[in-house]
């Protein structure tokens, strides 16, 4: 019984071939993952990618259809949620509306049949930890979203769970509060030495919080890695799409020289860095982030440039988000410190290392969005000349 009272110390949580099927649809397939104590893991992906399914499987709220979950040597996927000892923070917080903040937080301790004194001591400690002292006797309905969120977190961590599961905990908060709570969550993770699995669809949130990220798509793992890995070296164009490579261009691979490869087509001819095995003549998706397309004034910009005509400019604080079109109707997203005017013809330089060429997995999933240029853009782009290599 002692281990039910304190934290169950563990070394590794091992998911092997975890899958969950709904009818004939695989919501999650072949998830292999090792989580070490103290890690902050983010499950990242668009809605419907299986990340919440994975979390519910971990929590025991959904039975697996295949695979196993082991905590060190103990198989836990057969245990009901109440016997796993994991804490969970729900997207809608799921606070008990008829209980005060204090009773909400004490609930798990009471369920573990702890002594009254112990329940009180740990509850007060948790209330202090999330700074809700003045609100301890209120009902959840009387609290703001951020305060409710803190109650939900306190309720989960007061049990000192071996693993804390968070299901998009910040998605119901406004932008400012979201940033504050993000820091708060990371602070709690560090000070309490928690092991956290965090589900989100927000890549920025995942990158800033997690030690390692798991990117999911259609129920399958696309890439597991550190934030730096994913940010600079996405494994395929789907991950790139998700990690903010907003410019994804369907091109054809040309000749390969050393570490670089030529990609061309649709009036473009650029040097890129290949990701994975690409042969000459193969279709590729070339991806680059908006901030890596640099507007240059230089009369002789050298190689790897694109000419485009500015269409829409949005002010975004320190920078401007610019949408431009090449003569051949390729849309480019640019971030720029200065403000170009609509209709301006600009020369964009792209660093070879920042332009990634991925094999194009034709026919798997939707193609990168390639809209038709608007009528106006065609007209302003008439004078442009495309690119030079």
């Amino acid at each position: 019984m002692t281990e039910r009272h304190g934290r169950r110390e563990f070394g590794t949580l091992r998911l092997a071939g975890v899958g969950r099927r709904f009818g004939r649809h695989d919501a999650l397939a072949d998830l292999d993952l090792e989580i070490h104590r103290g890690e902050f893991i983010a499950l990242l992906g668009p809605s419907g990618c299986g990340k919440s399914t994975a979390l519910n499987c971990l929590a025991g709220l959904l039975p697996l259809t295949s695979g196993s979950i082991r905590l060190d040597d103990e198989r836990i996927d057969v245990l009901p949620p109440e016997r796993r000892g994991f804490g969970m923070v729900f997207q809608n917080y799921a606070l008990f509306p008829h209980m005060s903040v204090r009773r909400n937080i004490a609930f798990g301790l009471r369920m573990r049949r702890m002594s009254k004194a112990e329940v009180r001591r740990r509850t007060e400690e948790a209330i202090r930890l999330v700074r809700l002292e003045e609100h301890a006797d209120k009902l959840p309905g009387q609290l703001s979203g951020g305060q409710q969120q803190r109650v939900a977190i306190a309720r989960a961590v007061v049990l000192e769970p071996s693993l804390v599961l968070m299901d998009e905990p910040l998605s119901n908060l406004d932008a400012k509060l979201r940033l504050e709570m993000r820091t708060e969550i990371r602070r709690l993770h560090q000070t309490l030495g928690l092991t956290t699995v965090y589900v989100t669809h927000d890549q920025e949130e995942a990158l800033s919080l997690a030690d390692r990220l798991v990117v999911l798509r259609d129920g399958r793992v696309q890439q597991v890695g550190t934030p730096e890995d994913l940010h600079t070296r996405p494994a395929n164009w789907h991950v790139a799409d998700f990690m903010g490579y907003r410019n994804l261009l369907r091109l054809t691979a040309g000749e390969r020289t050393g570490g670089a490869i030529r990609v061309e087509g649709r009036g473009l001819r650029l040097e890129a860095t290949p990701v994975g095995d690409i042969r000459s003549g193969q279709p590729v998706v070339a991806g680059v982030r908006p901030e890596d397309l640099v507007i240059t004034d230089s009369a002789d910009p050298g190689g790897n440039v694109v000419r485009a005509t500015v269409d829409v400019v949005e002010y975004q604080g320190r920078e401007h988000a610019v949408e431009a079109w090449t003569d051949d109707g390729v849309r480019l997203h640019i971030r720029s410190g200065r403000r170009p005017a609509s209709g301006d013809e600009v020369t964009l330089r792209v660093d070879r290392a920042r332009l990634l060429a991925f094999p194009d997995d034709l026919g798997s999933g939707p193609a990168p969005a390639e809209p038709e240029p608007p009528e106006g853009a065609r007209q302003v782009a008439v004078a442009g000349r495309g690119l030079s290599a």
């Binding site: 709220l61 009901p80 729900f90 798990g108 369920m111 573990r112 009902l139």
Partner: protein
């Protein structure tokens, strides 16, 4: 919302359509002209409920035999044959309503989620509503009567020698009240239950609560106000039991319920004032029971239950 408000008289220069100035001035005094739409409903209620009720109340103070305004009340309470109908009806209605509510809870609790055949099962559980008391009574006579299937089954199984008397007494009426009252209770409780956010119980599970603790600490407290309301409604239905008390009960003896007393006063003795008196007493008893239940309910948490309902 604004489309239904009648156009207010507007002075020259104001834009056409409802005058926001007037509406705001009325709103400041707490008057919403859209409430005028309630007038037909109010007329209906006053005409068909309040007026007959007050008429009956007045009638009950004008006894046919004279003797002061309270003579009929005195007559009711001094005559054990009349007075005991209150007790006989309560003994039927309270347990039947309680059983309906208590039996609905576990069944509705198991039927919250989605599963194959839920619709069919719901229809089966709800169908007795559509049958009407008389058909139910007839079914009971056939099934539970001395020569009915139930007794024949018991006898052929050797469990009893003589048929058990289940019809023409308290039990016949009780079964009839359960059969007709259960669907109401079940439907109400099912909808109260589906109004409770299912993630609350899942959260409780991750906090270490086993199913009984989850039910006791989360679902039951959130459901309790709904249980109180459901109890009141099924109790009122059961308290006014009439046809089955005659058809499957013993209307001269143990199931001489209060509505039979009122019926006899009105249509056998043609003593409308006395019948009105009994009806008023009936209403007072119902209100007393409901008041007790609602008093208990007022001490419970009644806020949001987090769900969609």
């Amino acid at each position: 919302m604004t489309t239904v408000s009648p156009p207010a008289p507007t002075g020259t220069g104001s834009p056409p359509g409802p005058d926001p100035g007037l509406r705001h001035r009325l709103a400041e005094r707490g008057i919403d002209r859209q409430l005028l739409l309630l007038v037909p409903a109010i007329v209906f209620i006053v005409g068909l409920f309040v007026y007959p009720f007050l008429y009956g109340l007045g009638l009950s103070f004008q006894p046919r035999e004279g003797g002061g305004p309270f003579a009929d009340y005195e007559r009711f309470f001094t005559d054990p044959y009349q007075r005991d109908t209150i007790w006989k009806t309560l003994v039927l209605a309270v347990p039947a309503a309680l059983l309906n509510v208590l039996a609905s809870v576990p069944i509705a609790y198991r039927m919250r989620g989605r599963f194959r055949g839920k619709r069919l099962l719901t229809i089966l559980l709800v169908v007795p509503i559509t049958l009407g008391t008389v058909l139910t009574a007839e079914g009971l006579l056939n099934y539970l009567g001395p020569a009915g299937w139930f007794n024949r089954l018991l006898q052929s199984a050797g469990l009893v020698d003589e048929p058990i008397q289940l019809i023409g007494n308290y039990w016949g009426v009780f079964f009839s009240l359960v059969i007709t009252g259960f669907p109401f209770a079940f439907l109400l409780i099912l909808s109260y239950l589906s109004g409770i956010d299912p993630s609350l119980e899942r959260a409780a599970a991750t906090l270490g609560a086993r199913w009984w603790d989850r039910f006791r600490h989360i679902t039951l407290p959130l459901l309790a106000p709904g249980l109180a309301t459901t109890f009141c409604l099924t109790f009122v239905l059961a308290f006014s039991v009439f046809p089955s008390a005659i058809l499957v009960g013993n209307p001269a003896g143990e199931t001489r319920v209060i509505s039979i007393a009122a019926y006899q006063a009105a249509y056998e003795q043609y003593d409308y004032p006395f019948a009105s008196t009994i009806a008023m007493i009936m209403a007072a008893v119902e209100l007393a029971v409901i008041a007790l239940v609602l008093l208990w309910r007022s001490r419970l948490y009644k806020g949001s239950t987090g769900g969609k309902g």
